[in-house]
């Protein structure tokens, strides 16, 4: 009698277990996807807010925070007309700011270096060709035009920039290779020279 009940209960449990496991799998998958999807969503949404802040900064000639608690502010807009892409560049090369847009690294003028993620804001770097124009519009002044000279692949810890170039230089850097999903030691650096 009791044996039968246990057996019945066991069978029901045995039937429900795989369903439960499969449902858990679905949930796990969904949460993973959500964790992944939030990154480009944040990057995209932030640029809209930043665009507004950039316009205000232009008008007021001083950096305006895109949202009250932000620890970064727009400093310039870069655009590659041939590819039809543009992005608002943020001050301070911290990983935090990089989630929202390209950031300006601390360098010595006349060299400017901007870094952004290869799978969000700087995904377009793989399509940039020598001869392309890059326009940089700072919040304080006139648009500067840079012509792309070439690209290099370097290790993150083996990078150096000329201290005294003949013309102002702009470097856009991101991780390399573009397709990889793991973090690696290589960086892709596009060099451009002021027109």
């Amino acid at each position: 009698m009791t044996a039968l009940a246990i057996r019945k209960g066991g069978r029901a449990f045995g039937r429900a277990l795989p369903t439960l496991a499969l449902a858990a799998l679905c949930l796990l998958g969904l949460s993973l996807m959500a964790r992944g999807a939030i990154v480009p969503a944040k990057a995209w949404a932030a640029q809209i807010l930043l665009e507004r802040a950039f316009e205000q900064s232009l008008a007021q000639h001083r950096p305006v925070k895109p949202w009250p608690w932000a620890d970064t502010a727009p400093v310039a807009r870069i655009a590659v007309p041939r590819l039809g892409v543009s992005a608002i560049v943020l001050s301070g090369g911290s990983g935090q700011a990089m989630a929202f847009g390209p950031t300006l690294m601390p360098t010595r003028p006349p060299v400017s270096i901007m870094a952004a993620h290869r799978d969000t804001h700087f995904a377009f770097l793989k399509d940039v060709r020598p001869g392309d124009m890059i326009e940089v519009q700072p919040i304080t002044g006139e648009t500067a035009r840079y012509r792309v000279a070439g690209a290099r692949i370097v290790r993150w810890d083996r990078f150096a920039y000329p201290a005294d170039p003949a013309r102002p230089l702009l470097a856009l850097t991101t991780c390399y290779p573009f397709g990889a999903t793991e973090h690696g030691p290589l960086r892709y650096v596009v060099w451009a020279e002021r027109e």
Binding site: P18, L25, G36, I38, A115, A180, R187
Partner: protein
């Protein structure tokens, strides 16, 4: 039955669960695999740009100017070379200068003299660390000091400290080296430039720095480090067919059989090796016996050339594996020469031969999985493959070597397996290369073709020696046919195998201990040490399937002042070979080398020559500038390929080379990697949904 789960349902449950786990694991695993595949290779791309790490490029003229004079005296089969480097300080600071320069890989440096004004200061041999300490102490005290160190058996570094403004200091070193003999032709090679070495990423930094020097930018012109060369040739016979393939020469007759050879153009830039070749005007000599008596010991050098053998004999079928280097350092003339050499070799394959091609830079490609018969179609395919090669990237030679050493029929005694390497050998992990050969060569024989104007002779020699083959150099495109014909003829002709040497009536400590195979026209060069030189020396071997032997009387040896030092230098090479083959411990080998170096007064990896002026020169408190003299790029090297290889790959690049005067900066982590979790999540969701759908359909049924 009082059980929790019935047997059938339990096993089904387990099966289902484990299947599910398997699928999940597979998703994560494949995701990782596809992710790591591109991530492994680029790590090596990056290292290709680091050929000049730490030292970089010199775009300004150094304050210290250098001129080099080489005076060579060839007596019999040895060459004594005096290299005088004049360091002239054109600046207004007190200077210290270092200069990295090459010497023949079998040369033994035994003398250092420093000339300051009218005074000559003689150098002494000391243990390396001790010599360095003495030099540094003198440098701090403001005294003039000269130091000769060996970074590799064929790469030396001279340092000279406290050269005053406007002052010139001469550093004269002397070395001797055996003259190479091949097919009746004698050759003297004076390396004049060190090619920039590709250092694999995993090499320790100190080791890489040791073989590195800044490179002169082509804009500086070729006036840097000019070299003048004079050769006094006294081979002991009437020399004929004097050839210098890379430099124009002027020949002058000295008394009787002697000749004086000078460079026709006076000083030349140090950007290519100097080579001089000659033959005997009469019959080719087949025996050379030289001896030296020093400190109660007798030394012998014997050079014995076996007969060339019957040329008509059909060569046995061969398996030939060609390994071609298409790394960035081969850019320019070298790549062309290598491709032409390989195409030439492909043309000599017979249908009964089998072959394969492996190309490498920092990646490698095996043309065929295993060697294939040399049919017309396969050869045509190989030709197209060869013609399409372009120089780019770093030089990771070890994987290519290991791949070439894979022998699919190790027990096949009827055919011969030959590996032909075409490379400039500009790598700095020579040790790993020879160790791999020692461990895995088996029946394969390794032949090195040194390409370009300054191939790494030491690597060529050691790899050929370890692989029991020979090495040759192809300098320019014009030489390809002549040199490759000679090499391939030698490979085709039956070799002398199973060589043995016996000495009657005397005990001699002979080197090399492991006797090589000999190819047509090649002499066996033996060096020995013993109490007395008397009795007979017999060499036996197998030519084809016949026994051959030759006996010489040791009493006939001529006196030569350099045999003892050549013996010591050869013995050091033996110690190194044993170390690389893993037969001796590092410490024991170092100690043995240090003792040989001290006993025979020669510069080795463990001993250096140091010369110190007794009186301080530099006024106290005056600062000392240090300068590392830049090297010229070897002729034929393509500066742009070497420095802009990465731009070339990523698109036509500009000249944004961050050269000297650069600011180093760490680049931030710039990948969110959101695609990873996104795709993994999607895959999991898919599996879960599919499973649920399957179960529902089952439940309905």
């Amino acid at each position: 039955m009082p059980v929790l789960f019935p047997h059938r349902s339990r096993s089904r449950l387990l099966l289902g669960l484990s299947l599910l786990l398997g699928v999940v694991a597979l998703i994560f695993l494949t995701d990782r695999l596809t992710a790591s595949e591109p991530a492994v290779d680029p790590d090596e791309i990056g290292s290709g740009t680091l050929m000049l790490r730490g030292k970089g490029l010199a775009t300004a003229m150094p304050a210290m100017r250098l001129g080099t004079d080489m005076e060579v005296t060839v007596t019999g089969q040895t060459a004594r070379v005096r290299v005088t480097q004049a360091f002239r300080n054109t600046g207004d600071q007190w200077m210290e200068a270092t200069y990295l320069y090459p010497l023949p890989e079998d040369g033994a440096v035994d003398s250092l003299r420093m000339v300051v004004g009218q005074r000559i200061i003689i150098g002494h041999i000391k243990r390396r660390e001790e010599a360095r300490a003495i030099y540094e102490k003198a440098r701090e005290e403001g005294r003039k000091a000269g130091l000769v160190e060996s970074e590799r058996p064929n790469m030396f570094r001279n340092s000279v400290a406290n050269v005053g403004p406007g002052e010139t200091v001469l550093i004269a070193i002397e070395y001797q080296a055996p003259v190479r003999q091949l097919g009746g032709e004698f050759a003297l090679r004076l390396p004049l430039v060190v090619g920039p070495r590709y250092t694999p990423a995993q090499t320790p930094v100190e080791e890489a720095q040791a073989v590195d020097a800044p490179l002169a930018h082509p804009a500086l012109g070729k006036d840097l480090n000019p070299v003048s060369i004079t050769v006094h040739l006294a081979p002991g016979f009437e020399p004929a067919n004097l050839i210098s393939p890379y430099h124009r020469i002027a020949v002058e007759q000295e008394s009787g059989q002697g000749r004086i050879i000078r460079l026709a153009d006076g000083d030349v830039p140090a950007d290519r090796d100097f080579e001089l070749r000659w033959r005997s005007a009469s019959a080719d000599p087949t025996i050379g016996l030289f001896r030296q008596q020093v400190g109660g010991e007798a030394y012998l050098m014997a050079s014995i050339t076996p007969p060339a053998g019957e040329r008509k004999r059909q060569a046995p079928p061969r398996e030939m594996v060609f390994v071609i280097d298409n790394s960035g350092s081969m850019g320019g003339g070298s790549m062309e020469a290598a491709k032409q050499s390989l195409l030439y070799a492909l043309g000599t394959l017979r249908p009964q031969d089998r072959f394969n091609i492996i190309r490498f830079d920092d990646t490698m490609t095996r043309l065929f999985d295993d060697s294939v018969p040399a049919t017309a179609e396969q050869v045509a395919l190989a030709r197209r493959f060869t013609e399409g090669l372009e120089a780019n990237g770093g030089t990771e030679m070890l994987p290519a070597l290991e791949s070439a050493l894979i022998d699919s029929r190790p027990d096949d005694n009827r055919s011969v397996r030959q590996i032909v390497f075409l490379t400039d050998g500009d790598i700095s992990n020579e040790k790993e290369m020879t160790a791999a050969i020692a461990a895995k060569a088996g029946r394969s024989r390794i032949f090195m073709v040194g390409i370009g104007s300054a191939p790494n002779q030491y690597l060529m020699r050691r790899m050929a020696e370890a692989g029991r083959g020979t090495f040759t150099n192809v300098g320019t495109g014009k030489e390809v046919a002549a040199k490759m014909t000679a090499l391939l003829d030698r490979l085709a002709a039956p070799a002398v195998r199973d060589l043995e040497v016996t000495v009657e009536g005397a005990t001699l400590d002979m080197t090399p201990r492991k006797l090589p195979d000999l190819y047509a026209g090649e002499p066996l060069v033996l060096l020995g040490k013993g109490k007395a030189l008397s009795g007979k020396l017999t060499v036996t071997g197998t030519i084809g399937d016949k026994r051959w032997s030759r006996t010489v009387d040791l009493g006939d040896a001529q006196d030569s002042p350099s045999v003892a030092k050549l013996w010591a230098s050869r013995r050091i090479a033996d110690v190194e070979a044993a170390r690389w083959a893993g037969e001796t411990e590092d410490a024991a080998a170092d100690e043995a080398i240090a003792r040989l170096g001290l006993a025979y007064g020669i510069v080795t990896s463990q001993t250096s020559l140091v010369a110190i002026d007794e009186t301080p020169d530099r006024p106290e408190g005056t600062p000392l500038q240090r300068e590392e003299l830049p090297l010229l790029l070897p002729a034929g090297w393509d500066f742009d390929v070497l420095f802009h290889g990465q731009e070339a790959r990523a698109g036509q690049g500009g000249d944004m080379q961050p050269a000297e005067q650069a600011e180093a900066m760490d680049l931030p982590e710039t990948a969110t990697g959101y695609m990873g979790p996104l795709s993994r999540g999607a895959a999991l969701l898919l599996v879960g949904l599919a499973g649920l759908a399957l179960r529902r359909r089952k439940a309905r049924a």
